[in-house]
């Protein structure tokens, strides 16, 4: 039986890419939390814009990427939250260097 761990979930989420930025949602800092129980994986996430039509698509993509690695009896739950709001400081060093941030930021 597959043991579900956070590393595996995070790995699957990092295959969900913002098509315009060409950067995945984990590096963009959109994933706020991952909660794993034997029957359920819950992902808490945000988007940079509430006016962006891509939200549905990204949530769908998360479901598909997780479904591909999780045992079929584990439920997937994606919670979309706007509080706390996303800030650029949440981006990983890898994402920042793509957009030209200096190291010390």
């Amino acid at each position: 039986m597959t043991v579900v761990n956070e590393h595996m979930v995070r790995d699957a989420l990092s295959r969900v890419v913002d098509p315009e930025a060409g950067v995945n949602i984990v590096d963009l800092g959109l994933v706020y939390g991952i909660d794993i129980s034997p029957t359920r994986v819950q992902v808490c996430m945000t988007m940079t814009s509430a006016a962006c039509p891509m939200t549905e698509l990204i949530v769908d993509d998360i479901h598909e990427q997780l479904a591909a690695v999780l045992p079929p009896d584990v439920a997937i739950d994606v919670d979309l939250v706007w509080d706390p709001p996303w800030t650029p400081e949440l981006m990983s060093q890898a994402a920042r260097s793509i957009f030209g941030w200096q190291r010390e930021h």
């Binding site: 969900v16 890419v17 913002d18 098509p19 315009e20 930025a21 060409g22 963009l28 940079t48 814009s49 509430a50 006016a51 962006c52 039509p53 891509m54 939200t55 549905e56 698509l57 990204i58 949530v59 769908d60 993509d61 479901h63 598909e64 739950d77 994606v78 919670d79 979309l80 939250v81 706007w82 709001p85 650029p88 981006m91 994402a95 920042r96 793509i98 957009f99 030209g100 941030w101 200096q102 930021h105």
Partner: protein, 379 residues
Amino acid sequence: LSVAGRPVARRAALERLPLLLLGFAALIVGTGAGLARLAWPMPSAMAQAAGWHGPLMVCGFFGVVISLERAVAVGRLWTYAAPLLAGLGTALALHGGGALAPWFYLGASAVLLLATLSVLKRQREGFVLMLAMAAACWSVGTALWALGAAVHEVVLWWLGFLVLTIAGERLELSRFMPPSVAALRWFAIIAAGLLLSLASSLPLWWHNAAAGPWAVHGFGVALLALAGWLARYDIARRTVRQRGLARYIALCLLSGYVWLAVGGAVMASAGLEPGRPSYDAALHALLLGFVFSMVFGHAPIVFPAVLRVALPYHLVFYVPLILLHASLALRLVGDASGSFTVARWGAIGSALALAAFLVVMLSAVLRSRRTGSTRPTMA
């Protein structure tokens, strides 16, 4: 928990298709109407709509696409009234209900404004305020038009609608870039310049005069400054170094910014006097060159978002983009040199670019079906 937290059935997404088709009907008839104005022989349905070229493109096409996109983002049923009203406006315009059409477009703009204000309540950010201002510009321009103003008298407001919508979206994405106080300050100054130029044209309506020259020249200068801001602070300068779709989008954006600068410069120097070549040059540099470059760039992510169809990137995406830029350059050469013949060949080239764009997007969808890809390609 938002409704967007659950996967949406593909069938539900496909129910949005009729709304989008109303937008594309406006695009196709509107383009034909534009060519009829340049004395190209067109089918009678398009030739009869010659006077509707501007409203069909701005309210009928962009109005539907932008308000549908916003409705998908907000996710509440009432927000879909905006693309529906705009689509009905187009249907009326083309079927003898021309007197009523502006009021339907006005209704669409009001719903878009309300939908955007509901986003603002959820997310109190400057870029959402810009999107709300943009929708308000569409409302003001369309209200003046419904009350009897000519299209050329309200076109500045309609430009404000499209330019501020794009500017707001780019401002949002610029937050990926290193934080810059100067960037925000300049953006605020430019946005204020655009809005003040528009507002300064309003008092003249009460005196029954056309928009003052100051409004147009000021607007042109602000557009030029916006092009500079985008070239400096937009993520496209960074994402152009990525590959595939991200790079294609970035190249659409950067080439669009060049046309924004050209259109702004023409407007700042020559004003916007209907019937003159500079009027044709400024409006088409902005609307075809700048705004349609944005459409070409974002279609591969917006179509999948709205319709849930896969639209995988392919190198052939560049063909309509190159055709668009080349034909527009030809048109502006014609305008600048006073050659109507060259300008109208440029126009037909742009119509072909739009047709090529539709064919390329549709064939990408069909190709993905054939190869069995079931989900939109995100990367």
